[in-house]
Symmetry: C2
Subunit: 162 residues, 2 copies
Amino acid sequence: MYQASVPVIKKMLTNLSAILGKGKAYAQAKGFDGVNLVQSRLIADMFALGVQIQIATDMSKGGLARLAGIEPPKFENDETTIPQLQARIAKTIEFMDSIRAEQIDGCEAREIKFAIRDNQFEFTGQAYLLEWVLPNVFFHITTAYNLLRQNGVDIGKRDFLG
Amino acid sequence: MYQASVPVIKKMLTNLSAILGKGKAYAQAKGFDGVNLVQSRLIADMFALGVQIQIATDMSKGGLARLAGIEPPKFENDETTIPQLQARIAKTIEFMDSIRAEQIDGCEAREIKFAIRDNQFEFTGQAYLLEWVLPNVFFHITTAYNLLRQNGVDIGKRDFLG
């Protein structure tokens, strides 16, 4: 469970931070404000890049904390720039590094229950990781990648995979 | 290894097929050809929706076949419509259903080697699944979702997660 969670998500978040760095450099080279990238959306009723990264990190720290049976750190969701988003990713990775393998290993069958608005969710630990945490983390990181890619940032799938 | 691969990917591909169905219905309701969705891109130098789905299914059948030590079926990459893409997904799932758990379980340490153009890749079975197959499958399915979402199809993350 640990091998299928912490190192996998840490690698993806590390790649995400590097991709954001390329976005920042692109904005500088083109002479526009990187904040424009943070506020970019694929369509008006989807979350902007900044929120995609807030959710990707929330899913990472919240999901792993729930698997480990501990409390995740709380962040303020006040990031408006690329360096602030990268700092949020770094804080998330710092928290993940504090989780020991034995806190997560063996939680396959643990009952995981939570509610989002009116929806009740019930998972085993394993299903929670494989059908909730990982798909959500990959979803928001890929969407962040797609937003930067669509805006012309010179990144490829190699950057996504690391 | 089986639990972290076949059922996870099967669920995501099943959701993808349903999302494509919503795309087809949307095109019909709006009175345009669904092929326009298949040919849509986030930006001119990215793959179109149809290719995203070809790669998502190739990664699924190829990755799982490599883990199981068997040959995957070959598809012609000649799909041009949404129903043809859904048929490709169905054929991929049919192949996945033919893989027994004992063919994949226990392959954590198996050496996996392959080349893409000039790049040589070497993984253990576990790293291949967690750092290559799953990220690639999620990447292309999320990108397909984003393409349909950006084109106005009424889908949400609930459709992606299933």
